[in-house]
Amino acid sequence: MSDPHPILRFRHRHLLGIEGLSAQDILILLDMAEDAVAISRQIEKKRATLRGRTLINLFFEASTRTQSSFELAGKRLGADVMNMSVQTSSVKKGETLIDTAMTLNAMRPDLIVVRHAQAGAAHLLAHKVDCSVINAGDGAHEHPTQALLDALTIRRNKGRIEGLIVAICGDILHSRVARSNILLLSRLGARLRVVGPSTLLPSAFERLGVEVFRDMKNGLADADIVMMLRLQKERMNGGFVPSSREYFRFFGLDSEKLSYAKKDALVMHPGPMNRGIEIASLVADSPQSVVREQVEMGVAVRMAVLEALAEHLPNANHDDHV
């Protein structure tokens, strides 16, 4: 971008969520990510920024795209990257979390990227280890790098974020992507709407400063951005949603529903998509869809985050915990 903020520095030691980041913090990361996009599009993609640093990907939940995205980001910056997938079958996953964290901490990593099924897991880890912690998704709480990559994608396509109408649709209740995006995009001045059935979207969400809609027609009217969320199969049990066909009929994004939004509205999805459940294939593959660009921005944003936190390495003399 034209006017980055070369003097401003990212002040935080960890990236545990969007909560706690200022608009300026976010803009620093987005501007750094623009540079990373350029690097990633060169033939020579490697930088030495993190040479000699160790990055551990600690994933308690299966993930292909987020984990590989962080791995690639770390490698492009020259870090040594280790992937740890901890598959836990026991109910007490948390015991593994602390035990594993202490073990890894003893190996003196510089950065730990963690994904865990429980909200607050990244905070807990950050209190126990000496290195920087990046939250790659904790339960239904936050997924900050996803929100950053979404913001970057939006800004590159629309030239701005302020004033845009963003409609996030689907299973808001269980979505960390929705929470992080609500926080980030409203901090940058977008108008946030959330759309979904009451079972997946309690009206208390209004208190987070968003407009709540129960139908796609009104929710998508004049939207600049339509962000679809993945609907987990298990929501069909337990009375959240009666069936996938009923869900698709009323909340799945097809061409008709998309026509309620602005003509040039962007269609986004954090992936992986359930085609025919929350999104029709025709829409997912349409020119309005920026789903693949989101993946590319994912690597860039993660490079930016790693580099921003690396400014604090080795982790001496830092007392802020955000």
Binding site: E95, G139, A140
Partner: protein, 439 residues
Amino acid sequence: MMKLSTPAIAHQPMALVNCRLAQTGVEKLQPGGVLVVDGVIRDVGQAVVPESLPPHARVIDCGGDVVAAGLIDLCAFVGEPGGEHRETIASATAAAAAGGVTTIIARPDTNPPIDEPAVVDFLLRRARDTGRVRVVPAAALTKGLNGADTAEVGLLLEAGAIAFTDGPRSVANARVMRRAMAYARDFNALVIHHLEDPDLAGEGVMNEGELALRLGLPGIPREAETIMLDRDIRLVALTGTRYHAAIVSTAASVEVIRKAKSAGLPVTCGTSINHLTLNENDIGDYRTFLKVAPPLRHEDDRLALVAALAEGLIDIIVSDHNPQDVETKRLPFAEAENGAIGLETMLAAGLRLVHSGDVTLSRLLSAMSSRPAEILGLPQGRLEVGAPADIIRFDPDEPFVVDPASLHSRSKNTPFDEARLQGRVKLTIVGGEIVWEAA
């Protein structure tokens, strides 16, 4: 008469003089003293001055401190049997003594549970041999706390159980609850119930609302409590059982209690010191020591509880003392166990409400002593002639900072970690014997 694990009676008469007396039923503190002979309060009031005492009496000058009846805590987990890594009767009663609690009603959700006369007997013997304060077991309402089969109410009463409850579990099945209540009614037994519809609470781990949404944690709606309370009140009307709602935590529950009481039903209720002095915001960044059942609610609920306490609608305050070790608390919030310790900090935390002007000292103390005594039918908990000499001395204005390391409980999961409180207990007497004296 109920069996009590009364500590050995001290034979030397003892007198507390130069006190401000918190006497049951008297709103203002009165200057005076207390004379204790043979473990019983022999005299109390202005006449108790050094000149009037028997010549060999031990005299303690209280320097103008408040002297009140020892506290009665209707809900505490004491660890035995089966949870000795979390707490023992020795450690729980040491904490109680230091906190001014002179009678503990022990929760029955032990391992094995207190659903057998032999276990009641075990607990009473252990309390007699290792306890510093009185410990009286509550027994299970259903066998093995299974929520299905009524426990041996009659035999358990004979063994010394004081009330019937399934501890932290709710009896979800209304037919089972009706029968248990009807059966307990014939023995005039007190039924204490934890209020949470388990289906509606579901996977919830904190109060449902904005904060739960922000933290990404599944919520427990207030209705999980009120629906259960509503149901219970109707069953009380049906069966006529003496019923005590263990912990009410919402403004709506207070209104249900108000209606039940004005209808003349034999209903009482309590709340915990945590629900009176903390709210959901104290959870902050997933602090598991603030994870309790029922969950901490919104500030509006807390204010309604405080008002109901002041009014007397909420009868009593419990510590809900629930020791948890590091392994069950150092986990992601949703996976951590419920519970906070509270025996040792209950009085000082409660005094916050007095210092803020929301509740009078007299109401606070009655909610922790004479009122639970009335509900349970115990002779102690009153500063009056003829009552057992369970007495505490404290300066309600003395400031201190809670240091978890110095607490006596075997577990350190206090939600008042490093909190600034006022009113440390200086002296605790049980049955005329000093069981705690602050350094």
